[in-house]
Symmetry: C2
DNA sequence: TTGTAAGCGTTATCAG
DNA sequence: CTGATAACGCTTACAA
């Protein structure tokens, strides 16, 4: 099916056209466009009328080139690692909407970038600043960017964050809270379902810190270590991991799962082994609100507000770009526990000390 | 916390530097950069060495300005309407990755755009082409863009699509398939849970077509009309709508739900009324694979492959931008039914047909 | 308050 | 094969 005659895109008006029509110089128009002072009100009016009339809009590309500012925020999300979970997805919309609201363009880069690529991003005028995701404890990127004076904000944080802006959640505390809640319900055999090994190998922050939180909870409440690696944060893998776990530790009564999908899989496995949730076993997930409600029973969960995090990160970057004396903002979100229907007090029949 | 001395961003090398260092003219470097013919192999080598050495990268902004091409694809997703569902979210990553893979930048615009804004997008050099979402049957945007020769692709389609490129799913057929499956299981009282009224008011394609499909199924299988409007595609609203529906039509035995969240809510409501799924009632959802598995019981569903759709749309746009004799591509995806655990043959006790 | 003119870093045209 | 030189559309000293 070939197109009907598509007209060639009409050349659009330039600042010069406006100037000519208004009988002023280009610079005057530019001044008006950029809200500079020192313009006669009459002139401003006249020019703006013309602009209205001919429907002129500045060419952002030219503005960028001349002004040495792109007004672009880029979100770097390397798709190699990536399973996308709801976690990541919601970052996008949060960040994108914050960018829009602040008159920034939002650019999502999924191609993994090496050191050179990162710098080129800046050198070649593709963004004023970036949001970094998938931060590793020993991440090389913040140091590089900082060294070159390239503004950025991290979603997540390194081991050492001096001088880096970030927004992150306190995963250690999140994990501890989850365990604490389960303990308070009488559970003593608490399993951790996540991918500490995988993510620790990758030195990814959340994994390390969740694991750390688990250790702390164990120490604090004197629990024995029970955990099972899930391959991916999917229902299937959560299911498989749980079956395996139940074989090895049949006395487990409670589960802390990373991501709602794992939790959903766990619940399915439990049911298959004749255990009802929450009557016989309790499950807490680290998950977004949306996902937590989707699962049956609705998950008691430590809320992970991805969209808000994305939003905050973008806002922070905008501020950073706007301020001439750049400052560092570090925001560590306090986790909140929402109790729904997947947890209950340990029933006497299940008590095992 | 104020930043340590951030060094001013180093001015980066320009094409001119390269030219000087290599002892050639700027135009020669440009030619080499753009892989033009008519360059001596020796020269090319020398220049490329220099480029390597000093780590030069072209300034994309300048390229855009001079070359009159942005290499940007924009995805327009007006956030006003929008609840984001997994549907939409997955479009993004699909489109973004396709763009990346084809060396296009990907720009997500969430600000609603009026006619002028749309055209400015193009005029002001913000994108070579756009992907339109939230298409209405009588959408004004495609006609406008086409008239101005602005390349675009729709995710979704209008009532009349002559000359427009799109990728969409056959929602009519999807709905019919769902009903058909339920009928084949013996169900006669099939309810439709969605938001036809809301979306029809907005003239949004999917809603109208789902509704149409429901009518066709009714006619074909001689079913009585049972439907309930859900306010939003959330668990809560699905739950509430189902309760209401059950009050008005206590004999209903099967449900077709738009989106997994509604289905999850429906299942919860059914359970609360003492009905087990799928033993007593069957539920089919129009949902992504991921969501369908998350719900318990795993949903029998008509698969809505958002990410693939996003990917295809971006690819299509890239092709469209690349081809000098622009052609129209229209892709209507055939829905597929995946049977999981939320449907079963109508049990004799429930028969009322 | 306004205009002139010099960039910004490329590409493209046209001679050589 | 290569090099001037003029765009591209705008911002920004600096001058008037």
């Amino acid at each position: 099916m070939s197109a009907k005659n598509i007209p060639a895109p009409a050349k659009s008006a330039t600042i010069e056209d406006v100037a000519r029509l208004a009988g002023v110089s280009v610079s005057t128009v530019s001044r008006i466009l950029n809200g500079k002072p020192d313009v006669a009100e009459r002139t401003r009016q006249r020019v703006q009328d013309i602009i209205q009339q001919i429907g002129y809009t500045p060419h952002v590309g030219a503005q960028r080139l001349a002004g040495n500012k792109t007004n672009i925020i880029a979100l770097l999300f390397p798709m190699d690692h990536a399973e996308f979970t709801q976690f990541e997805l919601d970052f996008f919309i949060g960040a994108a909407s914050a960018a829009s609201r602040n008159h920034y363009f939002f650019n999502l880069l999924t191609e993994p970038l090496d050191a050179n690529g990162m710098l080129n991003l800046y050198r070649s005028g593709q963004a004023d600043g970036v949001i970094l995701m998938q931060i590793r404890l020993d991440d090389w990127r913040p140091a590089l960017l900082r060294e070159h004076g390239f503004p950025f904000v991290m979603i997540g944080r390194c081991a050492e964050n001096d001088g880096y802006s970030y927004v992150d959640m306190d995963f250690e505390r999140a994990m501890f809270m989850a365990c604490e809640e389960l303990v308070s319900l009488g559970h003593r055999q608490i399993a951790f379902l996540g991918r500490p090994a995988w993510m620790r190998a990758a030195q990814l922050g959340p994994a390390c810190r969740l694991w750390e939180g688990y250790q702390q909870a164990r120490a604090h409440f004197d629990l024995q270590p029970i955990y099972q690696e899930v391959a991916h944060l999917t229902v299937q893998d959560g299911y498989a991991a749980t079956l395996k776990l139940l074989d090895e530790h049949p006395t487990v009564t409670a589960f802390v799962c990373v991501h709602g999908a794992s939790a959903s899989g766990a619940i399915r496995a439990l049911r298959e082994r004749g255990r009802k949730v929450p009557r016989d076993s309790s499950v807490i997930a680290l998950a977004t609100n949306k996902i937590a409600q989707l699962v049956t029973p609705a998950l008691t969960h430590v809320n992970f507000p991805s969209d808000s995090i994305g939003h905050q990160a973008a806002q922070m970057l905008v501020r950073l770009l706007g301020s001439h004396a750049p400052s560092v903002e570090q925001r560590l979100l306090e986790p909140t526990l929402t109790i729904r229907d997947s947890t209950a007090a340990l029933s006497p029949s299940n008590k095992q000390g």
